[in-house]
Assembly symmetry: C2
Homo-oligomer: 143 residues x 2
């Protein structure tokens, strides 16, 4: 069972052009062609593209994906290197989780401040932008 690029595109929700681009970048080695030169995708290819999409969405670079492909093509002897790459990427994922948690805190804090301003418990936006505006007409301390 093979798929045309259109079928692959539909199943993956990924533009055909992007899939071709990935192949050109070397992320999809050994894609076969029919007698007209049209690509034929196997289920495994779709699985791999889906995995790449998942990694890409979380910041893995194409160059790193390519490294992994190249290592895989060199056989099982490169598994330690591939593990090292994935473990590093995992660290990166943890870093991003922290960043997200921090941003979420900051957003909630800001939203709480807006609530307080709306309820009149805080005098306008005392900490950030509005104060800049206020200062605009005040004397400077330095210089």
């Amino acid at each position: 069972m093979s798929f045309t690029i259109k079928e692959a595109s539909e199943r993956l929700g990924c533009p055909a052009h992007t899939i071709r681009f990935y192949e050109k970048e070397g992320l999809l080695p050994y894609i076969k062609r029919d007698r007209h030169g049209n690509r034929l995708f196997e289920q495994d290819h779709l699985d791999w593209i889906r995995l790449m999409t998942c990694f890409r969405a979380t910041g893995m670079k194409i160059s790193l994906l390519k490294q992994m492909v190249n290592l895989a093509l060199d056989g099982d002897a490169t598994i330690p290197q591939r593990k090292a790459i994935l473990n590093q990427y995992k660290e990166e994922l943890f870093r991003r989780q922290n960043e997200l948690a921090e941003a979420l805190d900051a957003v909630n804090n800001k939203l709480a401040i807006y609530e307080e301003i709306e309820e009149g418990r805080l005098p306008s936006e005392s900490r950030l932008l509005n104060q800049m505006e206020d200062r605009h007409n005040q004397p400077t301390k330095r210089e």
Copy 2:
């Protein structure tokens, strides 16, 4: 107490050029200057830049930051719009958290497979790249 761009840069761990770029983009209104035209940053500016950096690191676009600045400059009447923006961004953060969790699952799964291959419990990398290579020399089913 004001800071030069160099001091701001050091405190924020952010290149001076980037800070200037943010000002040019309108993200830092009302930065004052000394008599030589050099920028003078207040603590509030540093706080705001730090917050922007936090939002930027988690995917908020500069155009959206600028929208928020512009709304803030228009006064408290725009707080509902700013809340709407932040709530939307919050959704985005949740989406990203899910993506990270999925990627983390996928990585762990891949690492587990590598372990099994290393221990000989799985015949090479049966699911992805190596199989592509295998297929390379087999007849096609379609066409």
